[in-house]
Structure formats: structure tokens, C-alpha cells
Symmetry: C2
Subunit: 152 residues, 2 copies
Amino acid sequence: MITQKMKYALKALLTLADEAANGRPEPLTIEEIAKRSGTPKRFLEHILLEVRNAGVIASTRGRAGGYSLIKKPTDISISELLRAIDGPIAPLPCLSRRAYQRCEDCTDEATCRIRKVFAEVFWSYLLIIDSLTLEDMLRSGEAQQQVLGEKG
Amino acid sequence: MITQKMKYALKALLTLADEAANGRPEPLTIEEIAKRSGTPKRFLEHILLEVRNAGVIASTRGRAGGYSLIKKPTDISISELLRAIDGPIAPLPCLSRRAYQRCEDCTDEATCRIRKVFAEVFWSYLLIIDSLTLEDMLRSGEAQQQVLGEKG
DNA sequence: ACAAAGTCGAGAATCAATGTCGACATTTAT
DNA sequence: ATAAATGTCGACATTGATTCTCGACTTTGT
């Protein structure tokens, strides 16, 4: 299960992408994003900071400030966002490349059958999800997308 | 990430399968399984009950009692075990068949772009993991499997 | 009867998820 | 210069899940 936080992050990005698609270059305020995406404002603050740290959006401070996309939707990877918001994707800590962690009680990774079989599943899974971008989400709603339909 | 509980369940099943492969029909006691798989005994009690409720193993009570496999490894689905031990596999509650739950704040599932895109990922993922059985784990350790290598 | 086993509900300890809050920093308009 | 509108940040609260442990009970073979 992806977390609520991740859903909020995606909804925020969709809101920003929709705005950009309508040709508006001005940043959206946290409040506006919260309103349109149905996200608790004070929680969204923290989420947007994390998304910004992931390099996907930029913030402008002060009056007329807010957030805006700084990448094309085709260059915004869903799996990267998942890693940034929810943490490692791997089914086992010993299978994560960036967040590798030896299993506490493991004596030999090379012969661990649990690891071996989940490694294969994981590779196939990565092929699917690593190719997914925000653009795929934008296109998937064509002809009837509406942000309100994503309040959950 | 799969839970520690799931890892313990898999290690217990591997222990039982290895024993059966060696042609021993007697059930293994919780204590013996715990020892061989490196699982806390009192925790394992609860785990084995859940695995039993999933229909994969059977228990014998009283003296000389214990647990034994009641299915062939080829018929023991890893994804079913995951669902029994860790709960729904779906990335969103609204995508789970058996544990379907409407997202709290969702106004229209049909137009939700988050749902739509994760549904596609999920279907592909299911194809991979639904075909996986305990037998795949047994075979994956051929020529050098050892339970000790799976203490984590 | 006794001992060796599984069964079951309660609960402790820790950690993650989901927020809220107050104080502060930055920028722009007037 | 000041005020107002904004983002930033750390601390905290609440709730639920995870990972166990424990004690009491039940079942069965000898």
C-alpha cells in the first residue's frame, strides 16, 4: 500500500501539472494546492518540502510565492517519488540499492532462498514501475480528468 | 517491504518443506521449527496459526504433535501467503479485490488518475507474483540451499 | 495422572503514519 | 519602514501496526 502522504504528493503534482498545462506560469500557494487537491494544508507543507528536495518542484518565498513544477511530466518518475516519500521500494532491505541494509539475522545472503526469489520478483516489478512518469497519469485521465475525482 | 512475520512464515514453510523432502512424515514441533529457522518461539506460535488458517499446514495436538505441510509446494502460493500474513497486496485499498475499501475522500473512482495508473501497475505485478509458489523457493536454492543461510 | 504438545487472549514495547502548532524567515506592495 | 502574504522548520500529539512475551487452558499419548 502506498501511504496517504504519497497520494497527497501525487495529487499536488497533478494539480501543478494541470495548472501548467493551462499555460499559467505563476506558482500556486500551498493553500491553493491544498484546496484543489483536498489535502490538509499544514500536512501539505511538509510534503511539498520533501517533493522539492526530490528536485521535482521549486518554491518561491514571500508574497506571490508558491510552488511550481520544474520538470516536464515526462521526466518526473513515479518510482523516484515513491522512494522519496515512502522510502525504499524493495520487498527486503537487502534488495534495495540505495537503502541497502543487511537483514539482522542473515548469515549468508548468497544462499538465502527468500532473498533469491524476491529478487527476481523485484526486478520484474522495477521494469514496470521505473518506466512510469507523471505524464502517464496525466494522459490516463484524458477526456474526463478532473482533480475532484482524485480526492482519494 | 514484507514484514518480519512474513519472513518467519516463509522460513517455517521452508523448514517444513525441507523436512518433507527428506521423506519424514512426522510433524515438527513449534520448538523445532523455531530452532531451525531462527524464529522466536512464542511469536512463531501465532504465525503458524495464521498459516494454518490459510490452509497450508495442519497441526496435531497433544504428545508427538506439531505442524506439517498439507499441500505440495507447487500448490502453495506465495501471494496467498502474503495476503494471509501481511494483508492486502494492492497499492491502493480501492484496487484490492478481497479487501476492497473505498478511499475515504474519493468522489469518483472512475475518473481518479491515481487509481487508474496504479491499477495498470498492479495488474502486471499480480501476473508476476501470483504465479510464484513455495516450489520456486525450494528450487532457487538447489545445490547449495541451507536453512541457516536464511536466518534473515 | 502426567507430561508434552498446540491454542488463545491480553498486553508490553517500539516504531511509523498522519497530522497540528507556533515561531521564524523571506519577499513584495504600499 | 512597515505590514501582509507567503514558505520553512522543529516539536509535539495521536493513533495504529509491528513484534514480540506471558499465563492459562486444551488435547493427546503413555
